[in-house]
């Protein structure tokens, strides 16, 4: 379904700010699986997601989605196969346009956009019915600018929009990180519901070990731009949040040890 081969990306190459964000990431994701990606800040987990979405073109490596080589495709072209929800709840919707308009725009994701009406009179009922499935009473606010809604409401709508036409791949980029705990819970439940109902292949980046341990059927742990651990199948079922936290602590200690050792060596020999 999704194949990543040796992805590499360096930002600000050749400057003092050079960041090697991806250092050869390879990953195979099967049709219908729900993968969570965790990692420390700067581990490259969001970069990985953006590489798949096409926010930038990778320096090396190959990306295949549904057996199509999309490595060189621009972002908007990949959108025909990929649905996305961003970390910032304001990123996924056009604030001055109405709820109905936003949804209707999403209903044509990846399709050509001609001179047909965006909101034909008949279409509105369909939009309203699907918004009603969110159980957030948003169906009564179809003609309000979406910018007047709360972050949680907008994120729920973004999720609905990303999956309005069934995407081959759903990308979730820490999509609950900027929400209050109650809204975050609501979005997590909604995500589970939508993903399982539509059997969506999903790649979700999260900072929450709890989410990683409870959601999905595979966990990919990243560090320093490469995959550190990959829990799938039976192994995945035994992973608990505490295990993930412990693993991260180990990494941190190793790194501190590295630094301390380097310091010691420097003192001793330089």
């Amino acid at each position: 379904m999704l194949q990543l081969r040796d992805l590499q990306k360096t930002f600000f190459a050749g400057t003092p700010n050079e960041v090697r964000a991806l250092r050869g990431v390879s990953l195979d994701i099967e049709e219908g699986s729900f993968v969570t990606v965790i990692g420390t800040n700067g581990s490259g987990k969001s970069t990985l997601l953006n590489a798949v979405a096409g926010t930038f073109i990778v320096d090396r490596g190959a990306i295949n989605i549904s057996d199509k080589d999309v490595t060189r495709w621009p972002e908007h072209r990949r959108a025909s196969m990929v649905g996305r929800v961003f970390q910032n709840p304001f990123s996924g919707t056009a604030p001055t346009m109405t709820v109905a308009e936003n949804l209707a725009l999403a209903a044509r994701r990846g399709l050509s956009r001609g001179l047909g009406r965006l909101l034909p009179a008949r279409g509105l009922n369909e939009l309203r019915d699907r918004v009603a499935t969110l159980n957030m009473q948003l169906e009564t606010r179809m003609h309000n600018p979406i910018g007047t809604l709360s972050g949680g409401q907008r994120q729920a709508l973004t999720l609905l929009m990303a999956t309005w036409r069934r995407p081959d791949l759903l990308l979730l980029d820490e999509h609950t990180a900027a929400l209050d705990p109650k809204s975050a819970d609501q979005i997590v439940r909604l995500t589970e519901e939508i993903v399982s109902k539509n059997r969506l292949t999903t790649l979700m980046v999260t900072h929450s070990m709890q989410q990683a341990a409870t959601l999905g059927d595979r966990i990919v742990m990243m560090n320093h731009g490469s995959v550190l651990a990959d829990y799938a199948g039976a192994q995945r079922r035994h992973v608990r949040a505490e295990d993930l936290v412990r693993r991260f602590d180990e990494i941190r200690r190793d790194e501190q040890l590295d630094a301390a050792a380097a310091e010691m060596l420097r003192d001793a020999y330089v």
């Binding site: 979405a53 621009p74 972002e75 908007h76 072209r77 959108a79 025909s80 990929v82 649905g83 996305r84 961003f86 304001f90 990123s91 996924g92 919707t93 056009a94 604030p95 001055t96 346009m97 308009e101 936003n102 209707a104 725009l105 999403a106 044509r108 994701r109 990846g110 399709l111 956009r113 001609g114 001179l115 047909g116 009406r117 965006l118 909101l119 600018p145 929009m161 990303a162």
Partner: protein, 308 residues
């Protein structure tokens, strides 16, 4: 009365310019200074065609497409060659100055002896009034002025309606969304770059169309006539926004047209009261400065008041 009538007419003609600026400035937040060149370009193309005896309607349509090409250039410079917005516009505007001179063959092209839109307007006015002069609210006005106002108003209404329809299509909505939230519409499969190019095409097409009408109404095309027109358009758009504080497309379009007419009326009155015409552009620029800065300062003052 004639003064008032002509202020209305010019305000309506320039409302097409303002609609163009609405697309670049309000929809895309793109301060497109190409408008200064493309309004003259439209006037030049129309004028040179008219002096060669072509039909005024064809001349106006040709002016529209000429403007589209100018917008296309700016759009391509910005999106494909990654040149800064303002600079892309400045480059095309500067290039257009020479092109306009070539198109006209001279720096000023009079249109008083050829058949133009105003010839039709005069006939329309005569037909409506019955003879060469009409009375409007008790004031005598010439059939030409009266007819021009009616004709131009009709043209503006039709174009605004088409614009409204367009902005409610799939394509037009994608264009609005491109300006509203680039990241979102890209994730929904729209090339923001293409939208900007298309938007600037339409925008400058409208501006050039306004130029063609203006040249015919005032009876000449002049290579200098475009100077400061972008600021004029901005003023109209800003007044329109203040008049109708809504972001819906219909309201914004109507607001922009009203803004243009109102601004022209204010200027006419100011000139009447003794404003030196040489100061016109200075006053316009100061006005736009004020309109841009005041809301920000008011917000600050309000926050200050709320804090204390």
């Amino acid at each position: 009365m004639t003064l008032l009538l002509s202020a209305w007419t010019i305000g309506l003609i320039l409302s097409l310019l303002a609609l163009g600026v609405y697309i670049s400035y309000r929809v895309f937040k793109f301060a497109d200074i190409t408008a200064d060149g493309s309004i003259t370009f439209g006037a030049a193309v129309a004028a040179s065609m008219l002096t060669r005896g072509m039909h005024p309607v064809i001349a106006c349509v040709a002016a529209f497409f000429a403007g589209c090409v100018a917008g296309l250039c700016t759009g391509v410079l910005h999106t494909r060659f990654k040149i800064n917005q303002l600079l892309s516009g400045i480059l095309v505007m500067t290039a257009l100055y020479s092109i306009n001179l070539h198109v006209m063959g001279q720096s000023n092209l009079p249109l008083l002896s050829v058949t133009t839109i105003t010839t039709y307007a005069q006939n329309l006015g005569r037909w409506m009034a019955g003879h060469d002069s009409a009375t409007l609210l008790g004031w005598p006005v010439s059939a030409r002025d009266f007819g021009s106002l009616i004709l131009i108003a009709a043209v503006v209404v039709v174009i605004a309606f088409i614009a409204w329809l367009f902005f409610n299509t799939n394509l037009g909505s994608a264009m609005r969304a491109s300006g509203d939230n680039e990241q979102m519409i890209r994730a929904l499969g729209v090339s923001v770059e293409n939208m900007i190019v298309l938007g600037l095409c339409i925008s400058n097409g409208l501006v050039a169309f306004a130029g063609a009408l203006l040249a015919q109404y005032q009876g000449f095309a002049d290579v200098q006539m475009g100077i400061g027109m972008i600021v004029w358009g901005l003023a109209s758009v800003i007044i329109g926004r203040a008049l109708i504080g809504s972001d819906s497309v219909g309201a914004a379009l109507i607001g922009t047209i009203l803004g243009s007419v109102l601004f022209r009326l204010i200027i006419a009155v100011a000139l009447r009261w003794g404003l030196n015409p040489n100061d016109l552009k200075l006053v316009t620029a100061i006005f736009v400065f004020g309109a841009l800065v005041l809301p920000m300062m008011m917000q600050k003052a309000r926050r200050h008041a709320a804090a204390s």
